[in-house]
């Protein structure tokens, strides 16, 4: 992947897209091979270390904190950026208060960026699905990743929300300078915003190229539609 790129990972169900995500982010160990990010191997790192090395992610089946408010969900994302020690928190030193104010301000900015400011006090569990997805994206952004990995961000969204999502992904790249790796089934999203598309089938990469190239690739058509359509 190149800095500032939007890459989509597509493929039929069971092709291994989410598994690839989980291997990269340290949830499952790879059976072979190396994963390098920003010049360093991230193989064998625990999930929180992978995050610290600059990779943020969202999950296909949402893993927000249902019993925390929207604001607190985002604030947890700032864990790595928090410079206050536990001891200073226990006795509530002025330095810890200043740090907390700084984090609150940054969280407020993120909430506004994602249009969540109005619902920031609600518990995440009571939000609509599309809002929960945005909370998860905001939370991941709070950890200041260089690369964002989004696992089916458009799942369950209506067309208007999908348009907003497209705009949001572009803004993450253009305004925040993030590199973006996307798993998505919504072809509108994929074809619209990707610089590059990687197609997977049965655990391996079968094609790679610009959206136009991939669309015409016979191997891709075969994987998606079966061999007869390709012939």
């Amino acid at each position: 992947m190149h800095e500032g790129e939007i890459v989509s990972l597509i493929g039929p169900n069971g092709a291994g897209k989410t598994t690839a995500f989980n291997v990269i982010t340290g949830i499952y160990p790879p059976s072979a091979g190396d994963i390098r990010f920003a010049g360093r191997s991230v193989v064998g790192l625990a999930p929180h270390r992978v995050c610290a090395s600059g990779i943020g992610r969202t999950f296909q089946n949402l893993r927000i904190f249902p019993n925390l408010s929207v604001r607190d969900n985002v604030l947890v994302g700032f864990t790595l950026g928090n410079r206050a020690s536990l001891l200073s928190a226990l006795v509530r030193l002025p330095s810890q208060r200043r740090e907390e104010q700084r984090l609150q301000a940054e969280a407020g900015a993120l909430l506004r960026l994602l249009g969540l400011a109005e619902i920031e006090d609600q518990l995440a569990r009571y939000l609509a699905y599309g809002d929960q997805r945005r909370v998860e994206i905001a939370r991941a952004l709070a950890a200041q990743p260089r690369m964002m990995m989004l696992d089916e961000p458009a799942a369950g969204m209506n067309p208007a929300e999908v348009d907003d999502l497209n705009a949001l992904i572009r803004r993450m790249r253009d305004e925040l300078g993030k590199t973006i790796l996307l798993v998505e089934h919504h072809m509108n999203v994929v074809m619209d915003i990707s610089d590059r598309v990687i197609v997977m089938d049965q655990g391996r990469k079968i094609a790679e190229g610009t959206p136009q190239e991939v669309k015409r690739d016979p191997r891709v058509i075969q994987a998606y539609l079966g061999s007869e359509a390709a012939a």
Partner: protein, 619 residues
């Protein structure tokens, strides 16, 4: 020594058979419902006492009496399911843990009220005369136990494999998300599972009563621990694992009492539990792998907001004022002592709330920290002659470090294995206190611990009250600061979804260590205070029941509610005194309170009431 081996194995197999029967019952319920039934011990006790009444009072013949007693245990299972489990079908999984426990304590104490606390002989027409086969002796009861075990397990096997109903039970326990339940009455399936499980527990109870020629009301809870250990050994949801685990445990105990020392016999089950969980976090034969993507937290109710320490609020001043002035109104020495005890438990519950409420780790080991602090302080004072302030400080630091070390094995565990693991670890610590006689003086306890003195002034009378009030106040401020900070947010996030939290850089291991460390340090302060307050400590004050009681206090007050936990601790500690006219009912009231509070106010007295359940909230 080696020629004793056949004897050791024969004895072990008979005892192990009763463990296996009880453990299969635990695994059956766990497999079907993902619930650890802490009322299982009550079924064991009930089975044994039913048999006692039928044999002795009604004079029935032995076969009829045992069959009817098994039927009685079956009905106890019915009661457990209807009262403690069915009303909570959609509640967080912690809730049935508390209700079954409350019910078990209640039932056990009802038995105690009816039959008295003493151990009674369990006379049967069958002789206890041993038969000898080439140097190895075996009693008729040992043979009967082995035979009944084999037959019961055989019948269970037929039930599970040959009946439609049994097939459904297996289908559910092998894959809880199964759709094979279509057309089956799930309520009935669960009910019958509980009944069968309790009947197996009842048989285990009857057999062990006959084997030892003794019944007493607490035999069930002791055996339940063994059953849990056996079940965990095998991998909780695996029924064959429970059988193997039970037999192994029986043999290990019998070997331990011959080759090591019979005093450590009860420690073997706990040690086995701990060792297995350390190396095989899902048991020896557990096939349900630790699924990292699984959401494993047991309590998912929303937490109440953290109270702010806003000193401009009159309510806060009112509470502080009342607590400060209370000794002026209450001048009776005895009443002041009770108030002091209430504050000790308020502080203990407050500290456990860090772990159980905010970090979401159901710890059944808190009394171990309390005891660790008490013993550390008492030993430093009586053996090393340290002055009180040094003992107190050392107890806090040492217990805090001990808590952090304690967290290391616990954090590899998930779901119910956390409760089991902490139970085993906490139990191990109290067994060490009991049996390491050279160091702790064992069951005799430590006497004549000096009264505390600060800056040359001896603390006594009302001084104790103000001293523990100061500990409580400082602890409250620390806990509020802790949970109302980035650390607290991360803890609550971890409680909701550990993987989600780690994906944004939260290091769960550090959080768990810190939570246990701070909670243990506060408990250590309480322990040190307690040792110098009552001037005598013994292992009884820090056993598993005590840990359970502290958890009950937190649940009663409200998991994750700071004023709630303090109130819950003070109330449950004070309740027996308020009901002094009914001091015999102390434990029964405990159990009943736990049960009723969770049933009617699942969020606890001061817990946060979720206005509505979120759509699709996961368990």
């Amino acid at each position: 020594m080696i020629d004793l081996l056949p004897q050791v194995i024969v004895t072990g197999l008979a005892v192990g058979g009763t463990y296996a029967l009880a453990a299969v019952g635990v695994s059956l319920v766990f497999g079907v419902l993902n619930i650890v039934n802490f009322g299982h011990g009550a079924a064991l006790t009930a089975g044994a006492f039913f048999a006692l009444v039928l044999l002795k009072t009604l004079g029935l013949n032995i076969v009829t009496a045992f069959a009817l007693a098994t039927g009685g245990a079956y009905l106890v299972g019915w009661l457990i399911e209807r009262v403690t489990v069915r009303p909570l079908r959609d509640a967080p999984l912690l809730m049935p843990l508390i209700t079954t426990l409350g019910f078990g304590i209640f039932l056990e104490n009802v038995v105690q009220l009816v039959f008295g606390p003493e151990t009674q002989p369990f006379k049967t027409p069958v002789s206890h005369e041993p038969y000898s086969f080439g140097g190895t002796t075996v009693t008729v009861w040992e043979l009967i136990t082995m035979a009944v075990t084999v037959v019961s397990i055989g019948l269970l096997h037929l039930f599970l494999n040959r009946t439609h109903f049994g097939t459904a039970v297996r289908a559910v326990s092998e894959d809880r998300r199964t759709d094979a339940l279509m057309g089956l009455n799930v309520d009935r399936l669960i009910l019958v599972t509980f009944c069968v499980s309790s009947a197996l527990g009842g048989i285990a109870g009857i057999l062990s009563a006959a084997l030892y020629n003794a019944v007493n009301p607490t035999m069930g809870s002791a055996a339940m621990l063994k059953a849990f250990a056996a079940s965990v050994l095998g991998g909780m949801e695996v029924m064959s694992g429970a059988i193997v685990g039970g037999l192994l445990l029986g043999i290990a105990e019998s070997m331990g009492s011959v080759y090591i020392s019979s005093a450590w016999r009860d420690a073997i089950a706990l040690l086995a539990l701990v060792v297995v969980l350390l190396f095989w976090p899902t048991g020896l034969m557990g096939h349900r792998r630790l699924e990292k993507m699984e959401r494993a937290s047991l309590n998912v109710l929303p937490l109440p907001p953290v109270p702010s320490l806003e000193f401009r609020r009159p309510a806060l001043w009112l509470v502080i004022g009342v607590l400060l002035l209370l000794p002026l109104a209450v001048t009776d020495t005895y009443a002041r002592r009770i108030m002091t005890v209430m504050l000790v438990y308020g502080t203990l519950a407050l500290s456990l709330n860090i772990v159980a409420g905010f970090a979401g780790i159901i710890s059944l080991a808190h009394a171990a920290f309390y005891g660790f602090g008490a013993y550390a302080s008492a030993l430093l004072s009586t053996q090393a002659g340290w002055p009180f302030p040094a003992c107190f400080a050392a107890a806090i630091v040492l217990t805090g470090l001990f808590g952090m070390a304690f967290a290391a094995p616990v954090m590899r565990l998930r779901g119910h294995y956390v409760a089991m693991g902490t139970l085993g670890l906490g139990g191990t610590i109290s067994v060490v206190m009991l049996n390491w006689v050279d160091f702790t003086r064992g069951p005799m306890g430590i006497r004549s611990i000096p009264q505390p003195s600060l800056f040359g002034v001896e603390v006594d009378g009302v001084g104790y009250y103000y001293f523990i009030l100061a500990i409580l106040a400082v602890s409250t401020v620390l806990v509020v600061h802790m949970v109302d900070s980035a650390f607290g947010r991360a803890m609550r996030a971890m409680r909701d979804d550990e993987l989600g939290a780690s994906s944004v850089g939260v290091d769960a291991r550090v959080l768990k260590m810190v939570s246990f460390g701070v909670a243990a340090a506060i408990a250590g302060a309480c322990g040190s205070f307690w040792a110098h307050f009552v001037t005598f400590i013994s292992p009884d004050s820090f056993n598993i029941m005590e840990s359970i009681a502290i958890l009950a206090m937190v649940v009663l007050g409200g998991l994750g509610s700071i004023p709630g936990a303090i109130l819950g601790g003070a109330l449950l500690a004070g309740l027996p005194e308020l009901l002094r006219f009914a001091s015999d009912y102390r434990q029964a009231v405990y159990g009943l309170t736990m049960l009723l509070v969770v049933l009617f106010r699942p969020q606890g007295l001061l817990g946060f009431s979720a206005a509505r359940q979120a759509p699709g909230a996961s368990r």
